[in-house]
Amino acid sequence: MTIATRTLSLTINDEAVGPIDVPETMMMQDFLYEYLNLTGSRMGCGQGICHACTVIVEKGDGSLEEMRTCITGAHWFAGRKVRTVEGHAKRDANGAITQLSPVQQAFIEHFSFQCGYCTPGFVTGATVLLDQLKRNPVRREALEGVISEALDRHICRCTGYVRYFEAVRDLVLRTPGLVKA
């Protein structure tokens, strides 16, 4: 028995990937792991519930969208621009990390995570939230609700969310232009 494949081309972390033959039923998570050795997006529930597996899709207008890789086929991402958790920090010519993204830095400063399994998802979700706030700032009094709603779907099982929450709120408040007067 042979597995039916289809040719896939896409952009991941600003690099062109493919054309490459990929089984047509393969999930994005497996493609990232098995074909590209990008193992940062975590396989948690495998049912699209825990959101540890999410990546960013950069849309045509530059806005960001979060997608679950465990339940979305690799071919759905054909022709799209994807940013995995490996693509957030700045790197030097050798690929060594020189500067974490503001979200990653805030999570470190706030000791937001313990085992870290859910962290790639939280980094992804918080980054998408910051992008949305840049486009549509919210009133200060609405901020807590907006953060809760945006990150509610991300499941953490050890630190209990508070430090993730505080890190994101802190970052939003000290980043100009995300909160309306």
Partner: protein
């Protein structure tokens, strides 16, 4: 000549006005509550009826409407968005001020069976057109049960209805047209189970209130009894024998579906999820069997399952198939399976799903666009949430997917249009 004509017109108008006045005053209303009910029940009788009343109230699904999520039990307050405005269910706990604590036995009977409450006519969102067929004994039992509950000091919410819908007395006209004077559900010569099933279906569970389409006056259209209707933007499917068979049910599977809410045909959604949650999961095996026997028009439930043959696939264009298959493998297959088999205890199968076999594609399209929240079912079953794909899929992609699924597994013609999908967004 002209004067005679004028006189005739005036006479007709006068008689018409008299008749309308008589209707409005309720002179033509006929109560089905017998005179003996004026006699109050003794404390002893009330006590003896409580247990039976709890079961009757469950079978009649009273609680689902007379409570809000997180609200006080039996205190009402659930909004009903009708085409005419919003009405709220009422407090039926035995609180003397806000509830029915000061209601007599007869007042309760008249509210439930005639639609005339202690404080005026009820709106037919309260299914008194169906409850009219309840036996006096069952109404007594519910009365005794409700009076045994804790009184809830929760004020009723005011309805938001425009003139003239806000005049409760106007319901006399609706009642005149839509209330049957016959209250019996028993048919001589049919089996005990069939008759019990009919009573459950028509009186207690009031299935027709959603599954029978409504006529111009918003009454149940008896000529299309249980043949399916649109309700709050979704289709309450045809649950006649033909309709159930078309969805893939046989009498045994259907009875267990009413108990568990899950079968190869899918999981209960929308209002039927609540019906299972609050009501049918608690029905006795005999009652479930009776209901299924009646709906399949059998004397009793058969011993063995007789699943109907799966529908024959219908051909779709290569273009549609290619678009739909790509979408399916990309965003559906990880949970519903490449072959539509689903994941037991987690995700419903699609290959045998009833939604794909309905003539109207609306339910399927809505679910594709908006998803379904996580739902807990009896017996520790839990279906994971289904995400909505409104943001990820174009109208064309949804139409292609829906047509392909329905044609392949549901045997339905690929009739879904892009416009139809756009209107559902």
């Amino acid at each position: 000549m002209a004067r005679k004509l004028l006189l005739a017109v005036l006479t007709v108008a006068f008689i018409g006005a008299l008749a309308a006045g008589a209707v409005f005053l309720g002179l033509l209303e006929r109560s089905v509550v017998s005179r003996e009910i004026e006699q109050p029940l003794t404390a002893e009788q009330m006590k003896g009826l409580v247990k039976r009343g709890a079961y009757v109230a469950v079978a009649a699904d009273c609680y689902a409407c007379h409570v809000t999520k997180g609200g006080a039990p039996w205190a009402g307050g659930l909004p009903f968005e009708t085409p005419f405005g919003t009405i709220y269910s009422t407090n039926i706990s035995p609180d003397r001020e806000h509830g029915i604590g000061a209601w007599t036995r007869a007042e309760f009977h008249r509210a439930v069976r005639d639609g005339v409450g202690k404080n005026g006519h009820l709106y037919p969102a309260m299914p008194y057109a169906s409850y009219r067929k309840l036996t006096a004994g069952d109404v007594d039992a519910v009365y005794a049960y409700l009076m045994s509950r804790e009184p809830m000091k929760v004020a009723n919410r005011e309805n938001h209805l425009p003139f003239p819908m806000n005049i409760r007395q106007g319901l006399t006209f609706w009642n005149l047209v839509n209330l049957s004077s016959g209250t019996g559900t028993e048919v001589a010569g049919r089996s005990e189970a069939w008759n019990r099933g009919r009573y459950l279906t028509d009186a207690l569970a009031h299935c027709g209130e959603c599954h029978t389409p409504r006529n111009l006056t918003m009454g149940m259209k008896e000529s299309a009894y249980l043949q399916g209707a649109e309700l709050e933007g979704v289709i309450a499917p045809d649950i006649t024998k033909a309709g159930l068979t078309r969805m893939g049910f046989d009498p045994l599977v259907f009875a267990s579906f009413m108990k568990s809410g899950i079968s190869a045909q899918g999981a209960m959604t929308n209002q039927m999820f609540e019906v299972v949650h609050f009501s049918t999961q608690y029905l006795s095996p005999d009652d479930l069997a009776a209901m299924s026997a009646y709906l399949f028009d059998l004397a009793k439930l058969p011993e063995r399952a007789t699943p109907p043959a799966p529908p024959q696939p219908v051909a779709v264009s290569a273009e549609t198939a290619s678009s739909a298959r790509s979408t399916y493998l990309a965003v559906c297959a990880s949970c519903h399976g490449v072959e539509g088999q689903g994941i037991p205890h987690v995700v419903v199968p699609l290959a045998t799903n009833a939604s794909l076999r309905l003539a109207d594609a609306r339910n399927l399209n809505r679910v594709i666009l908006s998803g379904i929240p996580a739902q807990r079912f009896p017996g520790l079953e839990r279906m994971q949430p289904m995400p909505g794909f409104a943001a990820q899929l174009t109208d064309q992609e949804v139409a292609d997917l829906s047509n392909w699924l329905r044609a392949n597994w549901g045997g339905q013609k690929p009739s879904v249009t892009v416009d139809e999908v756009r209107r559902l967004r």
